[in-house]
């Protein structure tokens, strides 16, 4: 199973993501720099979290227009598994690979805490090692995680089972519509989520609820 992590200036959870992929997949991912126009043949492409280009202009807006994102889009079209976490989710939205938008948190403040997530669709290639409706712990750390989509889009993604994770038990930290924490595209091979499963994968993190997500995404690739 081969994976790749996309690197852009200002991302800062790249090291966390590389550590998680290495520990769970048993092999370090390759890294691909923003100006690269080709991504090697891998089974999983991950855009990690952070503040690409300082979140200037709009979160993910500048990053989404870098050359490497054209290569990510091509791979996604071919059905390669792609995952964006936090800023990675914002970049996938700005690149048009996922529907909707992420606005500033309703509190207007950055928030870092642990929340509960409900696995809203355990039938995706990212979530099939969880049970449908399972509650998992997961940390969040973001300023712009307030998911928004127009009514028609929202109805479509809800109807098609594209909502992968929801904030559960009143833990919605940012005002997201329908408590949405993570969604997949129509084809089901691209996932974007605000929470950080890579920060809950081992004893040192105080739990490993995030592991199954990586096992699923990497296992599929194997």
């Amino acid at each position: 199973m081969k994976s790749a992590v996309i690197l852009l200036p200002g991302l800062n959870r790249d090291r966390d993501m590389i550590a998680a992929l290495t520990k769970i997949g048993g092999k370090a991912p390759v890294t691909v720099w923003q100006t690269d126009t080709e991504i090697p043949d891998v089974d999983l492409i991950v855009i990690p979290g952070g503040f690409s280009y300082g979140d200037y202009l709009r979160c993910g807006a500048i990053a989404a227009r870098m050359p490497v994102m054209r290569a990510v889009a091509e791979k996604a079209t071919k059905g390669v598994t792609v995952m964006g976490v936090c800023n990675g989710f914002q970049i996938l939205l700005e690149a048009g690979l996922l529907p909707g938008a992420l606005m500033r948190n309703a509190s207007l403040k950055f928030v870092c805490r642990e929340v509960k997530l409900e696995v809203a669709n355990a039938g995706t290639r990212f979530t099939d090692r969880y049970a449908q409706g399972q509650l998992i712990r997961c940390p969040i750390a973001h300023h712009d995680g307030n998911y928004f989509a127009d009514e028609a889009t929202l109805a479509r993604i809800e109807g098609e089972g594209q909502v992968a994770f929801r904030y559960a038990e009143g833990t919605n930290p940012n005002g997201s519509l329908n408590d949405i924490a993570g969604i997949v595209n129509g084809a089901g091979n691209v996932l974007g989520m605000m929470p950080h499963p890579e920060n809950l994968i081992e004893d040192a993190h105080g739990g490993s609820d995030g592991r199954a997500l990586f096992e699923a995404a990497l296992g599929r690739a194997a």
Partner: protein, 739 residues
């Protein structure tokens, strides 16, 4: 605005640069002529209090700064301490008080940026941050605005840069109404054989400018930071710099990448007094001259004068001396990260600091005298008067349960969750203990079992009441917090915040506190390896409480054995580790007296350093041997608050029973020093006996004072309080105040 170099030097101009007449005379004597306008600016930048430590140097020299693990003590960008396995922890704390009061978001943000840069300038990747914040009273009209701005600024910079904030302090007191304190701490990890210093070596080598472009922001900032405030302070807003954490993150990656190539001979970040201070320090430390060509400096504004370029405090900039043969490689790395790279000068052998602008020499000064031979004062000081122990025998009675509820929901003892949830406490995936415990703990990446513990402490009201004892206490409490996690305290950084040192009573506070800090550091083998002094924290002649913040670092061999403050289980025996079976006795200067009786008189609790060391070693050994299940030190609010905090951290209740004098207040709320609470499974009678006996054998009292269990906290002589109720009251104050 363009400031020509030919502006006449008048007495007013000299005074407006913060230079006293005798200091100006010293300049005239030194160079034998009238300085140019740019030169006056350079002297002002180098000889102000902030950069030269002219009032404090004499006393700072008395602090212990070495030890078997110390690789680099004070004088560089940060201190460096060996943690074994070829690795070192690099750390420092620095204030950004004045800018944060004028412009809270940017002031705090650039404070964080500055301290992070100090750490990675030395070749270390930052792994942890803390910040100690002090504000005026909650109902002061500026306080809310300052808290909101400072917290957002600290988070805005640190979160984007990508360092976990693992600890800190927030305190409110009327003495900070006109001067808030923002003390930022950062620590990084480096290989012991790859530490980079600022000392330039070699003549004729390129001096390279890296990072962001130079603008007019922050011109004169260091001089501003060395002056008292008056009512016109708002006019100083343009002297505050603007932070760009994105550029700083790129600068970090570019610097670490460049350092790997072996190209860097010397490196210095541009902090206070920017290009001036960094160039002078590199040259002066290396006994070399420096020549700068300002026409090569990357600028973001037009028609900047030499004066402005030399005094700009634009952020995210570095100066390096590079190996000429690696120049191309170095430039490619910086271009890749979208940063500026320009050769702006060279090292020389004449010990002069020369600045060329548009073909004209605008400054030519002796570099040593500017840098490490700046003026030094022995300012007059008077010892702070010692207070007698007040008579508290006629205090109105307060029910202990009511007192506890009031304390844990008060501005100073309530939960700081509202603050630290705005900081990324988890990034890098190594945070083992987040804010809210005794110390923040971060795993050493790449090592199976090692971790580092961090704590920031000072009790300003103790220092005000007795600077010497208060100085000792700040060190002891920091050391104690590290011990309470099981960490071996390694070394500390000090951030000394005081009023105007030209007043003998303020100077007396500074001298007393430094003496106390020195005594405690020596007794506890806890050297000071870096630090910062912030004086003139006064508004309209009213000084802050003396606030010598201590940031300490400890080493944990095996984090799986580390202790936390929350009760681990029901049915654990609660043990109080203390000096005598008088339990608690000292109420003067306690949070209880301040917040429940409005009394701020009397001496602070004394610190017995011999006992402190014994108690800390005992606790550490017990944690290391896996004998105890939780541990917490006693500080503000004494025994009752400490037990409540352990209960709230776990949701498990406790019942405390120990012999009570007629007035239970000293036992429950006294702030006697050198005390810890720890828990041992009650069922393991033999273990319990062994722990108590071991304490006694070491000359400590280890008293079995209660048991964990249930959902209520029961203190002797009062009603039980549900832990849920405690928690909701504890959590409510901050959001209620801010939101």
């Amino acid at each position: 605005m363009t400031l020509s170099n030919t502006i006449p030097i008048t007495d007013e101009l000299v005074a407006s640069h913060g230079l006293k007449p005798d200091e100006y005379q010293r300049i005239l004597d030194l160079i034998g002529r009238e300085p140019s306008f740019t030169e006056l600016g350079i002297f002002s930048a180098m000889w102000n209090e902030h950069c030269s430590y002219k009032s404090s140097k004499k006393w700072l020299k008395t602090l212990p700064t070495s030890g078997p693990r110390v690789i680099q003590g004070p004088g560089e960008n940060a201190g460096v301490v060996d943690i074994g396995d070829g690795q070192a922890v690099v750390f420092k704390m620095e204030s950004h008080n004045h800018p944060s009061y004028i412009e809270p978001y940017q002031g705090a943000a650039t404070g964080v940026g500055g301290i992070l840069r100090d750490v990675f300038t030395m070749g270390a990747r930052p792994v942890a941050a803390m910040n100690a914040l002090r504000f005026g009273v909650p109902d002061h009209p500026k306080t809310k605005h300052l808290v909101a701005g400072v917290v957002a600024g600290v988070g805005g910079y640190g979160n984007s840069f990508g360092v976990p904030t693992v600890g800190g302090e927030v305190e409110f007191d009327a003495s900070y109404n006109g001067n808030c304190l923002v003390n930022a701490f950062a620590a990084g990890l480096a290989d012991t054989d790859k530490i980079f210093l600022s000392q330039a070596k070699g003549v004729g080598l390129p001096v390279v400018y890296l990072g962001a472009k130079t603008g007019r922001d922050g011109v004169g900032g260091a001089t501003m930071a060395s002056a008292e405030f008056d009512d016109d302070i708002e006019e100083k807003r343009p002297t505050v710099q603007v932070g760009d954490p994105f550029t700083e993150k790129c600068l970090l990656e570019a610097c670490l990448e460049l350092m790997k190539t072996g190209a860097v001979i010397a490196i210095q970040d541009m902090g206070a007094a920017g290009l001036t201070c960094s160039a002078v320090e590199m040259g002066a430390k290396g006994d070399l001259g420096i020549e700068l060509d300002l026409d090569a400096v990357p600028v973001r504004e037009e028609r900047m004068s030499a004066y402005e370029m030399m005094l700009s405090e634009s952020q995210e900039r570095m100066l390096m001396v590079l190996r000429p043969e690696k120049e191309k490689e170095a430039e490619a790395i910086f271009r890749k990260w979208g940063l500026d790279f320009a050769i702006v000068g060279k090292t020389t052998d004449d010990l002069r600091f020369r600045v060329i602008h548009q073909g004209e020499e605008v400054a030519n000064l002796p570099i040593k005298e500017l840098g490490d031979q700046a003026p030094e004062y022995d300012r007059p000081w008077v010892e702070s008067p010692k207070a007698a122990l007040p008579d508290f025998s006629v205090l109105p009675a307060i029910d202990p349960a009511d007192a506890l509820l009031k304390l844990i929901s008060s501005p100073n003892l309530s939960s700081r969750r509202w603050v630290w949830e705005q900081y990324d406490t988890l990034i890098q995936g190594n945070s083992l203990q987040r804010p809210g415990g005794d110390a923040g703990v971060v795993r050493v990446e790449g090592h199976e079992t090692k971790a580092l513990a961090f704590s920031s402490d000072v009790t300003p009201r103790y220092v005000e009441a007795d600077p010497f004892e208060g100085g000792k206490q700040a060190v002891a409490e920091c050391w104690r917090n590290l011990c309470a996690t099981g960490a071996l305290p390694l070394a500390a950084t000090d951030n000394l915040n005081f009023g105007n040192p030209e007043r003998p009573e303020i100077m007396g506070q500074l001298v007393g506190a430094i003496k106390g800090i020195g005594e405690a550091c020596r007794a506890l083998d806890f050297p000071i390896v870096s630090g910062n002094v912030s004086l003139y924290n006064e508004t309209n002649g009213k000084a802050i409480m003396p606030t010598p913040t201590i940031g300490g670092v400890g080493l944990i061999d095996d984090w799986s054995k580390m202790a936390r403050i929350g009760f681990a289980a029901e049915g654990d025996a609660i043990l109080l580790v203390c000096k005598s079976n008088m339990w608690g006795t000292h109420l003067a200067q306690s949070a209880y007296m301040r917040d429940l009786h409005g009394r701020r008189d009397g001496p602070p609790p004394p610190v017995d350093l011999v006992h402190e060391r014994k108690a800390g070693e005992f606790v550490r050994d017990a944690i290391h041997d896996g004998r105890i299940t939780a541990c917490h030190d006693l500080s503000d609010g004494g025994l009752a608050v400490a037990v409540a905090e352990m209960a709230m951290a776990s949701g498990i209740g406790a019942a405390i029973s120990l012999p009570m004098p007629t007035d239970p207040a000293p036992v429950l709320f006294g702030e006697d020093q050198g005390r810890y609470l720890m828990t041992v499974p009650r069922a393991d009678k033999q273990l319990l006996r062994e722990v108590i006996d071991e304490g006694a054998a070491r000359g400590l009292v280890v008293a079995w004072i209660g048991e964990t269990g249930g959902t209520e906290l029961k203190l002797p002589g009062t009603r039980a309080i549900s832990v849920k109720d405690l928690s909701s009251r504890h959590e409510a104050w901050f959001p209620g105040f801010m939101d």
